[in-house]
Subunit: 283 residues, 2 copies
Amino acid sequence: MRYATVRHAGRTAAAVLDGTDLVLLDAADVGEALRAGIADVRPTGERIPLATADLAAVISTPRKVICLGLNYRSHIEEITGGAPLPVYPTLFPKWADTLTGPADDIAVPPAELADRIDWEAELVVVVGAPIHRAGVDEARAAIAGYTIANDISMRNWQLRTDQWMPGKAWDATTPLGPFLVTGDEIGDAAALTITCDVNGERKQTGNTADLLFTPAVALSYISTFTRLLPGDVVLTGTTGGVGMPSGAATLLVPGDVVRTEVEGIGVLSNRIVAEGDARGPRA
Amino acid sequence: MRYATVRHAGRTAAAVLDGTDLVLLDAADVGEALRAGIADVRPTGERIPLATADLAAVISTPRKVICLGLNYRSHIEEITGGAPLPVYPTLFPKWADTLTGPADDIAVPPAELADRIDWEAELVVVVGAPIHRAGVDEARAAIAGYTIANDISMRNWQLRTDQWMPGKAWDATTPLGPFLVTGDEIGDAAALTITCDVNGERKQTGNTADLLFTPAVALSYISTFTRLLPGDVVLTGTTGGVGMPSGAATLLVPGDVVRTEVEGIGVLSNRIVAEGDARGPRA
């Protein structure tokens, strides 16, 4: 199954894909549908073609967005220059406000505020059942499905101090979607190609088979210290090929188009724009 | 004015202190009251004596809880051993789930999971008006008031990787309260004694005059990358005297009582208990 959150008639609604149409559900987003029990949420009777739908972040108002860093060997190598592999997951947060839709413009601040704006294509796991101190098997069984994010990062803010959050939590900079894809289509998302292109040039290529901490292991670890609930979102980290190691003074700039794909899930396509120039929601 | 959130009749309610009584308000907590405009929230007609009230975290379900690290000279010295003062605030997150009431037991995991459980007394600033890219004066004017937290920290989890969050985000480990105290009583909270005692022994003594980044400066800085809204919570950092620098293998253990005070605001008093032994809400 493929679920999306669509902007329609001045609100957002969860929807399920049926052929080339989205069938709207009686929930404000896929997160609310998961909390209500997504199989029990009734259709509203409305259908809209996917081709013209204006998609919001598939989970629009998560309680928790937790991100892993340093989780693909290729990225660990480019960042650490060959340090031993981490023993524990590196975790940092985003907020619901950080998210945006899979085709939305990403408004970035003037260069004097943020001058190295980088891409990070990521597989995302969405929680479907409450877990606390879960083992890996229980955590795996609690996964609702998978989606895609690009953890657009303001490197100068990320690296000002030891703690990365200020470079990772700019409002409306992390596209999330387009679909929550469930296990019947995608299994454990265990060997999927993941790519990021900027203006048509391939920047990142990886495969989820190279994740150091799998989605189930990550959820199990996080559930040691905090209860995870349906609709909670975990970004699993990015693969090699981010812009920062090049040392370039400028990475993404207004006008660039960032295309992020995970095999079997879909594509995010986001234009970088200057603040004030963002295209509003189409609906 | 002094506002609290009280557990009463199977729910929580915002309340305002009137002499020795809490006058209940028609809002689920002080955060909801702030979002509604706290001066406009009507009393429910119920009063309960403060002396017997069961207080919840004063902001019970904040959208954002952002914490500063390394913000008192005395603490920077004990942690860094004399490194230059930071140029930028160090920021990390908590979640709403991390919070607990000002007199609640704090349930800690078995020592094999978390063996160095530390105290961190902190002044907390609560946002009262929306701000984005606010200057310091605008940020100061947006402050709803001040409260107290103890950022109880699982040091072994905090220091497993570069990113501190996993040591700072254990569910129901950060007491927050007892009151939101507004500027008419406390001004800018600019020169208040802050202390932490464990089992009656003074561990931390500091003064908010020594904050490197003041509450208004911290809010202004955070508002650069994310819009702050009424009810958002910012912990301003702890003063010298935390347990970690002693190198002790064990810090807080079940049976200990942690007392956290900020002059002019009030006192948090929390007993550390083993998981499974926590006293439930009294109401």
